[in-house]
Symmetry: C2
Subunit: 211 residues, 2 copies
DNA sequence: CAAATTTTTGACCGATTGGACAAACGTTAG
DNA sequence: CTAACGTTTGTCCAATCGGTCAAAAATTTG
């Protein structure tokens, strides 16, 4: 373990309470957006008084910033794992599956991110144009290599990545709509397996009838 | 005299000013969400004082509600036009194209809708489970018919519709991210044509290499 | 024209917002 | 124990929020 360059030393209570706050803030921010969320809401969700919360995070923005930093690390992990080794079609399929699992298991994180982007990404724009773009360009090159080798159909790698993001995150960000449209029967827990089956077929064969 | 909620008789000024307000509110709501937007912001964007704005819409919610009602009509028009006549594959392709055009031409409307859904659709839930579900079920039946007839590949019609929504609206809702990742060159006006080409190929043939 | 009506504004209200602060309380090391 | 330090709370503040109201200004109508 590295002795932190600027990682502040924290007591046991500080670590615990900060986690508690971040957990509560994830709930609140992901459903109300940044401006729509209040410190009081977060404090109440975390079971503490507002001044107490402000003792651990001096400003509302600090909570959001900490949340966003943690989020991006785990959120982009599946894409980072997309690797040149192994069968390309299998790699893509498992990337799609992992992204869909994240939409299922971490919907709040997805919505937090969606809220930020929707509102113009005022707080993470540099990250998008920097770290994210670099990563996507890198993986687009890998995908392009697969296309050149004839392993997958030739198309636009960047838009391919967008389409995977869009289709999978849709099940977290638009969950309310998905469940409302599917109704009580098909909108239950099985909807993610249905989605997985559909997406696999879509990205593999498209819609053209077999013949 | 006050402008009644169910008094449709309006003067010329009332019609003009209400349009002005709705136009300004679309800007503000779509980028800040409902709770994140203030009446002052909308009033300033509309070039009038707050009390003056409140003379035309008594409550902040009234503006939002009017906006949402208008939105849904035009927003679902492309799906309504999805018809049983004509070649199924062509029908789907033109539906995708129309949805993508709407994402390009009406991004604020898309974001307004996305904001509402993201935050749990508190104001339009009945519409989702009612009107929207009915429409989607109806069109899903049409698509299912095409599948039974062997005109397109057999898959889940509901999730197919979701995937079309997700991939097309992504270019409006996540526009900032799309442009940041594509960079100045590929992120220009041509990005929608690139997206159209990609989506056509995806939904037609998928990614499996031709052979 | 003048009266009636519609539109616009400045001043104001109570509630809520993000945040400051000192005092009180709890914990721990010497 | 006690002093030092970490934690919690009640109180308070200025700014902003959605919305009201009476009166002024502009427009329409007779």
């Amino acid at each position: 373990m590295t002795i932190g360059t600027d990682a502040p030393r924290r007591t046991r209570i500080q670590q615990e309470k900060r986690e508690l706050i971040l957990e509560a803030a994830l709930d609140v921010f992901s459903t109300n957006g940044f401006r729509g969320s209040t410190i009081d809401q977060i404090a109440e969700a975390a079971g503490m008084s507002k001044p107490n919360l402000l003792y651990y995070f001096r400003r509302k923005e600090d909570i959001h910033e900490t949340l966003m930093q943690r989020l991006l690390d785990t959120w982009l992990a599946p894409l980072r794992e997309l690797d040149d080794i192994g069968d390309p079609m299998t790699e893509l399929r498992s990337y799609i599956r992992r992204k869909l699992e994240m939409a299922r298991d971490f919907p709040r994180e997805s919505r937090l991110f969606a809220n930020e982007i929707l509102q113009g990404a005022p707080r993470i724009m540099p990250l998008l144009a920097g770290e994210l773009k670099t990563l996507v360009d890198e993986k687009a090159a890998v995908i392009r290599g697969w296309m050149r080798a004839g392993k997958i159909a030739k198309t636009d790698p960047w838009h391919l990545i967008f389409s995977i993001w869009a289709t999978t995150q849709h099940y977290a960000d638009f969950d309310v709509q998905v469940r409302a449209v599917l109704g009580p029967n098909r909108g239950g827990d099985g909807r993610f397996e249905d989605a997985a089956r559909f997406l696999e077929q879509l990205f593999l064969d498209g819609l053209k009838p077999k013949g």
